[in-house]
């Protein structure tokens, strides 16, 4: 951008003379030279905020250029909105410091860069009077970075999927058998309308950042809301403190611009003439500006909203999407339980006997037994496409609660069940992390055909089981690739019999290859907690 082309926007002096407190052009005010100190600070800040505001990971660019724009998944767009500084990554020679080590590293790099820049500028003896134009563009980049980022996050709340309403299995789990992280996520999940409200606040903050006139208000909102989220994540070990701090930092940077004027007006109670530098755009520049702005709106408010809506409606990303067998759904007491044909009476201390069982509305069976099992302590996030890998109902839950995914052959009344817990399956599914790393090739296991071909034919492919509106290329590909990468899991094959749905008899082979025979009787479990009036998914 040629500097000569740019003049100050003249709107600032259209006010009545009495208001402007003088007839001189306000252009002059604030356009004075910057001090050397200000210039050095600016150069450092410029480098730092440019580095953290632009995507630096190869995966990000790969996603943008390989995603299917005609059949988009909400996560395609979310991944565009969702990045944070990750140049250093996890290295041994630099401390992690809860993830803030990276920031410090980048700050040090920027300080060095800032001093080199200063030295070069001094040496060439063509030192600039000020950096108003560069400051303007830096603020534009930060505004759009923060705005797009928070909108990406906000929509998963506005269409309440990020913090789901608890499944029956979770409702039946004791309060002390959750992790703190789980308790926080559930505490928002139980009030979906409130979650919508927080989503509106986040999206609104983002939209306000897209306009000069509302940037201050957007930044205040973003700063306050995200500072709270940072503290929440640190307190509950939620794992998203890094990404939320990132927005606090960006919002804080945007607010610095206004501090002097605010201080003058409110504290010193002085007449305050704001100084704003705006470049004048001409010709193609204007078209480019309007084009980029419109594209931002269309993609991150229009398209993202739509993909997020169909996700909420048909394929909520933390909740399995396939319908459960209709006549099985509900809570059950375990009336009779046999292992290898031996009756085991009910005891709260027995490690084998099921104490209660639940068929969710979707493809999940949960039951409880008094046996310690390895737990998945991650936050059940990420973007798994297969129901089997959607682990929100499992992660951070103890109390002997077991969670199995099932494929139902409704012709032969057979359930093919797989444990949703997978020993090697943790780590990639962090809500805080992006999907980077999950695309690494893993050793493919040979298919062992434990589900017979006839049953597979009855079950049908997973991908097409959701509404066609919600289908996407990402899902189609993901279902296939996740199946290839799946590890070893516990399995059960159970026949089910039910006449009126009141009593269900399960019989077959459990995960220890013992034969089991279980009589379940439906219970009408009443909860104190009010039912959700805004339900994700279609079952």
């Amino acid at each position: 951008m040629a500097f000569v082309m740019n003049t100050l926007k003249q709107t600032t002096i259209t006010e009545p003379v009495e208001e402007a407190a003088g007839q001189h052009p306000p252009a002059a005010i604030g356009a004075k030279p910057w001090t050397s100190f200000q210039k050095v600070i600016f150069r450092i800040a410029f480098l730092f905020f440019i580095i953290i505001s632009l995507p630096t990971s190869w995966n990000w660019y790969q996603n943008v250029f390989t995603m299917d724009w005609l059949h988009p998944h909400y996560r395609d767009l979310y991944d565009i909105a969702r990045f944070q500084p990750n140049i250093l990554g996890n290295v041994r020679w630099w401390p992690n410091w809860l993830g803030y080590g990276e920031w410090l590293f980048l700050l040090l790099v920027s300080v060095v860069g800032g001093f080199i820049w200063t030295a070069v500028a001094n040496r060439r003896k063509r030192d600039r009077r000020e950096y108003n134009e560069l400051y303007y563009w830096l603020r534009v980049i930060v505004r759009y970075r923060a705005g797009i980022g928070i909108i990406g996050f906000g929509f998963t709340k506005l269409m309440p999927t990020q913090l789901p309403y608890p499944s029956l299995g979770l409702l039946n789990t004791n309060f002390g058998d959750f992790t703190a992280q789980k308790i926080y996520w559930l505490s928002i999940g139980i009030v979906p309308w409130y979650e919508v409200f927080t989503g509106i606040v986040e999206v609104l903050a983002g939209v306000l950042l897209f306009f000069r006139a509302t940037t201050f208000w957007g930044a205040v909102l973003l700063f306050g809301a995200l500072a709270d989220i940072v503290y929440v994540n640190l307190a509950y070990d939620g794992g998203v403190h890094g990404y939320s701090s990132y927005f606090v930092l960006l919002a804080g940077f945007l607010l610095v611009y206004y501090i002097r004027d605010l201080y003058n007006l409110l504290i010193k109670e002085r007449f305050t003439v704001p100084f704003h530098y705006y470049p004048t755009l001409t010709g193609w520049q204007r078209i480019a500006r309007v084009g980029l702005k419109v594209a931002t709106f269309v993609i991150f408010l229009g398209l993202l909203y739509w993909t997020q809506y169909v996700n909420f409606r048909y394929d909520p990303y933390k909740q399995p999407a396939q319908k459960g067998v209709a006549q099985l759904r509900g809570n059950y007491r375990v009336t009779e339980f046999r292992v290898n044909n031996q009756l085991i009476p009910y005891s709260p201390l027995d490690s084998l006997r099921w104490q209660e069982a639940t068929f969710e509305n979707w493809s999940t069976l949960t039951f409880k037994a008094a046996r310690a099992v390895p737990l998945d302590l991650s936050n059940g996030g990420g973007s798994p496409m297969r129901d089997l890998n959607r682990t929100f109902e499992l992660t951070g839950v103890a109390g002997g609660q077991r969670v199995f995914y099932y494929d139902a052959d409704t012709v032969t009344h057979t359930l093919y069940l797989q444990d949703k817990y997978r020993p090697a399956g943790r780590g990639n599914r962090e809500e805080g992390g992006s999907d980077e790393g999950s695309k690494k090739p893993r050793k493919e296991k040979a298919p062992d055909n434990w589900i017979p071909a006839t049953a597979l034919a009855h079950i049908g492919p997973e991908d097409s089981k959701i509404h066609s509106l919600a289908r996407s290329t990402r899902r189609t590909k993901g279902v296939v690739s996740e199946a290839k990468r799946d590890g070893k899991r516990n399995r059960m094959i159970l026949q089910y019999r039910t006449t009126d749905g009141g009593r269900v008899i399960l019989s077959g082979i459990n995960e220890n290859r013992d034969s089991i025979y279980v009589v379940l009787d439906r219970v009408n479990r009443k909860y104190v907690l009010s039912e959700s009036t805004l339900k994700a998914g279609s079952y």
Partner: protein
């Protein structure tokens, strides 16, 4: 307004290129202007608002002064001040409803009509507007400070009791879950308290009041939304505080939008309430100091002292020594017949919790009629401290008295829906982990119960040690 144009000529050419601050009339040129006249609608709106907010904020109810005069100066000072701080005019009984606001608006409307008739010639209400803002600043400040301190010293939402930890998630009301979810992270609760207190303290200074409202509005706005969402009982009161914060914010809203959104040169508010007489200045100093002493320093100190004594939400009388924990009901006899383990039998106990204090709770399939108070109450007596059973089904809660000589526990159901449900049990402690209870239950049936302590590990505590990326078998 015209004088301003003249003022601008005072500026020396070189000052034009200086900082905006230098354009300021440090010689008081603006201040000498005659205050502008208000329009009729402005005056009308002000009269109505003044009366409305005055009735809402200034205690006119004699009961308030009764409570004020009987305030405890001992450890319950914080409780009494907390209750006083929640004053709002009530015409329809103790429960807060928006109907009260309707009555206030009606009174204000009548007052406004009379006032308008009798005060037509008034140019403006700058002084009265200032006085109203002072009243509201202090009213709002004490409102948020009162709640801020019981969060800073995390008492409002305490750590869940053992019984609460052993109750299914779905057996709690949303409001109780909200409180317990906050209770597990005392540091976060303190942080929220600190934010609230900061907002309150900023209100005590005229110049920082607007910044204070910028903190209070989102904070209390969120409290209001939470009350609606979680079916809490304080949405009227939190909205009451929000209206005051909005009114205070409105004072600077126009200049702020002018400066920050329209990016135009902006005049600050220049009105100063001048106290001419020395006694007035002394009175101001005394009142402000008293507010800070009684509302911040003493209240903060007493809240801290109460926190040191333990959360006010739970009873204080100690329970059976060394008994606290979760117990399996190994054996259960009803009228001398053994009843095996059952999750369906409403008489068969499933597990029992002894708290550190004198509460025991029994899990059985006997339904619970919910006790659901949903406003914040600081109970004086143990009987009033009902947090443990509030909004919670799944367990029956009994307070007990110990007769250590005759080895008797006198149990009383804590739930007001089961008032008068009192019975006695004989206890034996053959070993440290076993308690045997026998006697007649609430139905006069004879019971004999063997309780064995479980070494229950709570993921909530264990996960904190293992970390989110750790591994754990539980």
């Amino acid at each position: 307004m015209n004088k301003l144009t003249k003022n601008s000529t005072v500026l020396q050419p070189d000052t034009r290129f200086s900082e905006p601050a230098r354009l300021d009339d440090s010689k008081g040129l603006f201040a000498q202007r005659e205050p502008a006249a208000w329009t009729e609608p402005e005056k009308g709106l002000f009269r109505f608002s003044f009366l409305c907010f005055f009735i809402q904020a200034v205690p006119l109810d004699p009961r308030f002064y009764g409570d004020l005069l009987t305030i405890h100066w001992d450890k319950y000072y914080y409780r009494d001040l907390f209750n006083l701080s929640r004053y709002a005019p009530r015409f329809f009984g103790p429960v807060d409803t928006f109907a009260n606001w309707g009555v206030v608006a009606l009174i204000a409307l009548i007052g406004k009509v009379i006032w308008t008739l009798r005060d037509r010639d008034r140019r403006n209400y700058n002084e009265l507007y200032y006085v109203l803002r002072v009243i509201l600043r202090y009213r709002l400040a004490i409102g948020v400070l009162a709640y801020g301190f019981i969060k800073l010293f995390p008492m409002q939402a305490p750590l869940p009791s053992i019984s609460n930890l052993n109750t299914a998630y779905g057996d709690f009301s949303a409001w109780k879950l909200f409180s317990m979810s906050l209770g597990i992270v005392p540091s976060y609760e303190s942080f929220l308290g600190l934010v609230e207190i900061t907002g309150g303290l900023l209100l005590l200074n005229r110049k920082t009041a607007t910044i204070g409202t910028l903190i209070i509005l989102p904070f209390t706005g969120n409290v209001f939304m939470s009350n609606l969402a979680y079916e809490g009982g304080e949405y009227v009161y939190s909205f009451y505080l929000i209206t005051m914060a909005l009114f205070l914010f409105a004072f600077d809203a126009v200049p702020l939008i002018r400066l920050l959104s329209l990016e135009l040169p902006t005049k600050p508010h220049r009105f100063k309430f001048v106290l001419t007489e020395p006694w007035q200045r002394t009175a101001r100093l005394v009142l402000k100091s008293a507010f800070i002493f009684f509302g911040v320093i003493l209240y903060g100190y007493k809240t801290y002292a109460a926190y040191q004594l333990g959360p006010y939400q739970f009873p204080q009388a100690p329970g059976l020594p060394g008994a606290s924990g979760l117990y399996n009901v190994t054996e259960f006899r009803l009228n001398n017949l053994v009843v095996p383990y059952s999750r369906e039998d409403s008489a068969r106990w499933q597990d029992v919790v002894f708290e550190k204090w004198a509460t025991l709770s029994i899990k059985s399939n006997r339904p619970v009629k919910l006790h659901q108070p949903n406003t914040e109450q600081i109970g004086l007596t143990d009987a009033d401290r009902d947090y443990e059973l509030a909004g919670s089904a799944g367990r029956h809660y009994y307070t007990y008295q110990i007769d250590a000589v005759r080895h008797l526990l006198t149990l009383e159901n804590r739930n007001p829906n089961y008032a008068g449900e009192t019975w006695q049990l004989h206890y034996e402690r053959p070993s440290a982990s076993r308690i045997i209870l026998s006697g007649r239950d609430q139905n006069r049936d004879s019971v004999y119960v063997v309780l064995d302590k479980l070494n229950k590990k709570y993921l909530l505590n264990e996960a904190a040690k293992a970390g989110r990326r750790g591994t754990l078998n539980l």
